[in-house]
């Protein structure tokens, strides 16, 4: 929220200098996003009164005859749309000849036969505001013609305050002033209250009759099933005989500094009050408020078209709160609306979408003289829902959805009326005020409760004093506090809110530092185990020589198809880019992309631990990828990257983690489609299948632009553990036997070894292959695998013990239809 320092200073005469405010506001939880020094208009810009405005025939230009005071009577030609038909007396900001602005010196020129003496400027041209809405225009009599503008439009500092969603109360100059006054113990000067209504205290006696919707709409999605009140406070006041036109210079200056664009007197007065008090108001042309009646009602039917004052069309419905005029519409509740829907002409009498935007009907025009001021309190939840659905974000609804002071409505109406009266309007003495607003309820707390939560030793009396300064009504009885927050602090609801306010005004900087002393409940014991295992795996992989990567978890159908991964099922409703439309279903496509970040021919050894989102549910995976040589060639020969080298890394990893690892040959349909059909295995960790290992299918490699072999594995986490028991190593010497098994090539070594281990029993310590041979005299389609079997027992083994085992093994081999190769 932007606001000029001097406006704040008007309410807080003893406010410290602008440069000192940053740390003060930060301590209040209102950090400054910035503070900008906005200079006054440069010298050479003066105010000039229009004496005549006439179109220049055959052009888009307007000839303005000007009274420039000491500079005499001058003329200019202007192409600004709002120069057309200017009333005599209206004042413009004139850049006098000889003035340099934006690197350009203005002079006297002939334009379409008109001597153009300098230039009438827009706010943007004078570096006063961002919006270029045509010429800056001021009411007649703003200043004597020829007055240098910088003497009436002073330099200022603009504070840009970051306001969190809970602090609706500081979304105004008054609100910020109130908080600063409470913190710094400053005197607060309230802004002018406006003309007090003659009927002050009684209700419903203004010129406008207002009816509110009955309470009781429940929104289907709202889990609290709370009755939404719609509108619980509505003030209406009328002002007539207004001459609409530019608003006063001082008002335009403040609006401009606050980042708003001046429009005209009536609209500016409404915006000014919103910035000053935080109360949004809507001003309607009274000619459109049929029968001087306003009906606040939910939309009459689904898809009712409402045209807003900017020309946009919106489809409102029975859950959207609308402002209707008194056109004969015989309904004011949703139920009635549906019952009589056929008879109602939709959209016609809609003055606006409550609290969000006014309608085209009721809109203030240049010739508007009589207005109806609406100053109301609407349901924040209903308004937020409507604004979100219609995509209408206005300054008004921004405040309503955060929470406007429910009691502020009459003050807002009176203040607007006062500003219009000051500009020549006639305010009707009566004020219509209906509704019973809901205000913050009483909060019970104790000083010790608050001290315990904060850990700060603040006396209850100081708490009482702080809360009182914030506008609360506090009654203290011993340690007990009964607190009624002020109507503008709708965020204060529970005693913890009081604790925050006490700490905030006492000062967070006084918060001491201690450490919690607690003994965790037994249910938490062991919660760290998965994390420790993950950290251990991560370090073991890095220790093997692999670089960890962290990749995006997003994917797309196209990418999943390229990688031959499962089609993504977890899909984004609102993707940012076409390549990130869903969540990945496997880890390896991410690794393939990361491998692509490496230079051509470079060795790649990377791993990732991350989450995937397949149809079976979110899961955690570890993936490892290797490309290129394990050790590239230098003056020494390379160690080529092969499946064997890659599997060796896996075995080394398992050994360092104390796990047993096994790879079972996958064939045919069991091979993951991303893998080479002949180089693929099931990864078995401590006896459980956890994933796969293999070489990337060349077709997939080509899709990812990867040339040469790529080896991959992917396994589910957490990896299964094993039962652990200390084994005292046997000191007895080993006995060994060699055996060459001849089997069809389709029989994997793993299958042979599994058979041998199963048959040999406890004496067999290890099986290691030492020769694999294909060729004569081994028959075609078969191969010989020679293994060394190492046996060990409690004591030295004798042939009498080993030989029967060997006979058993040979028998088992033959039973498979395999052979034994003689020595």
């Amino acid at each position: 929220m932007k606001l000029p320092y001097t406006w704040l200073k008007e309410l807080l005469p003893d406010l410290p200098a602008a440069a000192e405010l940053e740390p003060i506001l930060a301590q209040l939880g209102l950090p400054l996003e910035g503070i900008e020094d906005v200079p006054a208009p440069i010298e050479g810009v003066v105010l000039a009164a229009v004496t005549e405005a006439a179109p220049i025939e055959g052009t888009q230009l307007t000839r303005l005859a000007l009274d420039v005071g000491p500079h005499g009577a001058r003329t200019i030609a202007s192409g600004a749309p709002n120069a057309v038909g200017l009333r005599a007396g209206t004042m413009v900001a004139l850049v006098t000849p000889g003035t340099t602005l934006g690197g350009m010196e203005y002079g006297v020129r002939m334009l379409q036969g008109v001597e153009s003496w300098g230039m009438a400027a827009s706010a943007k041209e004078l570096n006063l505001g961002e919006a270029a809405a045509g010429l800056m225009l001021f009411p007649a009599g703003t200043a004597a013609p020829g007055t240098p503008m910088h003497t009436v439009w002073a330099a200022d500092s603009v504070l840009d305050v970051e306001v969190t969603p809970n602090r609706a109360d500081v979304l105004s100059v008054l609100g910020l002033a109130r908080d600063l006054a409470a913190f710094l113990k400053l005197k607060l000067v309230m802004p002018d209250a406006g003309p007090q209504p003659a009927n002050s205290g009684s209700k419903g006696e203004g010129e406008i009759r207002v009816s509110l919707p009955p309470r009781g709409l429940i929104i289907e999605r709202d889990p609290s099933r709370k009755l939404r009140f719609g509108c619980d406070h509505f003030a209406a006041r009328t002002v007539s005989d207004i001459q609409n036109g530019p608003s006063p210079l001082w008002m335009q200056r403040r609006l401009t500094l606050a980042g708003m664009r001046p429009i005209d007197l009536i609209v500016d007065a409404s915006n000014y009050v919103m910035l000053e008090l935080g109360q949004p108001t809507a001003l309607y042309d009274r000619r459109d408020v049929t029968d001087d009646q306003i009906i606040v009602s939910f939309g009459l039917r689904q898809g009712e078209t409402v045209r807003d004052l900017m020309g946009g069309e919106h489809q409102a419905g029975p859950e959207d709160l609308l402002i209707l005029d008194g056109r004969p519409v015989p309904v004011s509740t949703v139920a009635e609306a549906f019952a009589t829907a056929g008879e109602v002409k939709v959209g016609q009498g809609v003055l606006g979408i409550a609290g969000i935007m006014g309608g085209e009907h009721g809109r203030v025009r240049a010739d508007t003289t009589d207005v109806v001021i609406e100053s109301a309190h609407f349901d924040p939840v209903l308004l937020r829902r409507t604004s979100t659905r219609l995509g209408l974000n206005t300054d008004a609804v921004y405040r309503y959805e955060r929470g406007v002071d429910p009691l502020l409505a009459p003050r807002g109406a009176n203040r607007v009326a006062g500003l219009l009266a000051a500009a020549g309007g006639t305010v009707h003495p009566g004020l219509t005020l209906v509704g019973t607003p809901e205000v913050p309820g009483v909060i019970q707390a104790t000083g010790s409760q608050i001290r315990a939560l904060l850990g700060m030793d603040i006396p209850t009396s100081e708490m009482e004093e702080i809360l009182t300064r914030l506008g609360c009504t506090v009654s203290a009885e011993g340690d007990a506090l009964t607190v009624t927050p002020p109507s503008w602090r709708i965020d204060m609801a529970i005693w913890q809110d009081l604790a925050e306010e006490v700490a905030r005004l006492h000062g967070f900087i006084h918060l001491p530092e201690t450490l919690p002393t607690l003994r965790v409940h037994a249910s938490n014991i062991g919660a760290e185990k998965e994390g420790l295992a993950r950290a251990g795996l991560r370090r073991a992989l890095a220790g093997l020589g692999a670089q960890e990567v962290v990749t995006y978890t997003f994917t797309s159908d196209e990418e999943a198809a390229k990688a031959r991964a499962e089609v993504p099922g977890v899909r984004l409703r609102n993707p940012l880019t076409a390549d990130r439309t869903a969540m990945r279903t496997a880890l390896y496509p991410s690794l393939l992309k990361a491998a692509g970040a490496h230079a051509k021919g470079e060795r790649v050894l990377i791993f990732e631990i991350g989450r995937i989102f397949p149809a079976s549910g979110e899961a955690e995976r570890v993936g490892l990828l290797m490309r290129g040589d394990l050790a590239p060639k230098t003056h020494q020969p390379q160690i080529a990257g092969s499946f064997g080298a890659f599997k060796g890394l896996l075995e080394s990893l398992a050994a360092s983690l104390g796990a047993g690892v096994e790879v079972r040959q996958l064939r045919g349909d069991a091979v993951p489609t991303a893998l080479h059909p002949g180089i693929a295995g099931e990864l078995v960790w401590n006896g459980q299948s956890v994933g796969w290992i293999g070489a990337l299918h060349p077709a997939v490699a080509a899709e990812f632009g990867l040339k040469g072999e790529t080896f991959l594995l992917e396994a589910a986490l957490p990896l299964p553990g094993r039962a652990w028991a200390f084994r005292d190593p046997s000191r007895a010497p080993a006995a060994w036997r060699d055996l060459a098994v001849i089997a069809p090539t389709a029989v994997s070594y793993g299958e042979m070894a599994a058979l041998l281990k199963a048959e040999a029993g406890a004496l067999l310590e290890t099986v290691e292959p030492f020769d694999v041979y294909v060729g004569a005299p081994i028959p075609e389609g078969e191969r010989s695998v020679a293994v060394r079997l190492v046996f060990r027992g409690e004591k030295t083994l004798t042939d009498a013990e080993v030989d029967p085992v060997m006979e058993r093994l040979i028998g088992a081999i033959r039973a498979q239809g395999w052979g034994i190769r003689d020595k």
């Binding site: 889990p223 994390g531 991560r538 960890e548 940012l576 060795r603 989450r611």
Partner: protein, 344 residues
């Protein structure tokens, strides 16, 4: 031959022996079983007893001199042989070794590990949780109802099935509390997502570290002390912590914390690192409601606790001078491969 000439001759042969084999031959010739000196000793028996002793001493003196020379020469030749062998084995050690791969951790996990090490020292368990969440855990149970403007602070990736990508690690507060009883101390690490266009400081995917402590009588000073402990662990003993009021719907009171960093490589300054606060009673209530729905006891009413959250990317960028958040997930080996060893 006289004793002297025998000795001279032997010593000459010893000195001339070029290698250990030649020396062995000399040894055999003079002091071997049938060597010349040995034979001479054999003649002692033929001498009269009164001469024997003197003659024996003379021959043994010759033998002693020869054996001493042999030992000396043998040692010399052995050393020479070893020197020659070693010389032949010499290697140019300036040639590079076998270029084995060298692994390392990703910088985000380096920062995470630094952070979690501090918390583990203080007795916290490190946990992780799901990245796809439901609206209830991500928002409703954290006191962010669907209509609340605070939702605007966290632009959300919604999923077609109505779920969402978690916008913060805070849903793990709910999940952990539902499954465990107080008192408890945990930190959560993991990815979070925001519907945000990517630029040098914004990413649609980033990481958070979330802390959660619940017990009896946990106070806001405990929170500040805990953050200060982390700050000193991260930035050294001169680090100080500053709290300023802020708003997060799931805490009350809420604060933003900044750490005073004595930057060894640049300007020292306050670093805005994250948000924190005392857990809102509505969060405890939502947890107890979920527990009750699962048939478990309500155990959180009347407890107090704190939570905090911060982003490791921001810490890594500030601490290591990484200029662009997109560097983290581009996985350029020249970038992420730098974060090895002591990073200071």
């Amino acid at each position: 031959m006289t004793d002297q000439s025998l000795q001279d001759q032997a010593l000459q042969a010893i000195a001339a022996a070029p290698d250990l084999d030649a020396l062995q031959a000399v040894k055999t010739r003079y002091v071997g079983k049938s060597g010349l000196v040995t034979k001479e000793l054999g003649t002692l028996g033929k001498l009269p007893p009164e001469e024997r002793k003197a003659r024996g001493a003379e021959i043994n003196a010759v033998r002693g001199a020869i054996e001493a020379a042999l030992t000396e020469r043998e040692a010399l030749l052995k050393q020479a042989a070893l020197d020659a062998k070693l010389a032949s084995e010499a290697i140019d050690v300036t040639l590079p070794g076998l270029p084995l791969p060298a692994g390392g951790l990703h910088p985000i996990n380096r920062v995470y590990d630094d952070l979690t090490a501090i918390y583990e020292r203080m007795g916290y368990a490190v946990i992780e949780g799901p990245e796809v969440e439901d609206e209830h855990h991500n928002f409703e149970a954290l006191n962010v109802p669907w209509y609340h403007p605070a939702r605007d602070l966290q632009d959300t990736f919604w999923l077609e099935d109505g779920r969402l990508l978690r916008t913060h690690t805070s849903p793990m507060q709910i999940r952990y509390m539902v499954n465990h009883e107080p008192a408890l101390k945990v930190v959560v690490r993991g990815k979070v997502y925001r519907y945000e266009a990517t630029d040098a400081t914004h990413e649609a995917m980033f990481h958070q570290l979330e802390g959660l402590v619940v017990g009896d009588g946990i106070s806001m000073t405990d929170l500040k002390g805990t953050i200060a402990e982390m700050a000193r662990g991260l930035y050294g003993p001169t680090a100080r912590v500053r709290f300023q009021p802020s708003y997060y719907p799931f805490v009350e009171p809420g604060a933003d914390f900044a750490v005073w960093w004595e930057n060894p490589r640049g300007e020292s300054k306050w670093l805005e690192l994250g948000g924190c606060g005392m857990i809102h009673p509505n969060v405890f209530k939502a947890v107890d409601d979920l527990r009750e729905a699962e048939g478990r006891e309500r155990v959180y009413e009347g407890k107090t606790g704190f939570a905090f959250g911060l982003g490791p990317e921001r810490i890594a960028m500030l601490k290591y001078g990484i200029p662009d958040i997109r560097y983290f997930y581009a996985n350029d080996p020249k970038v992420i491969g730098q974060f090895r060893g002591e990073l200071g």
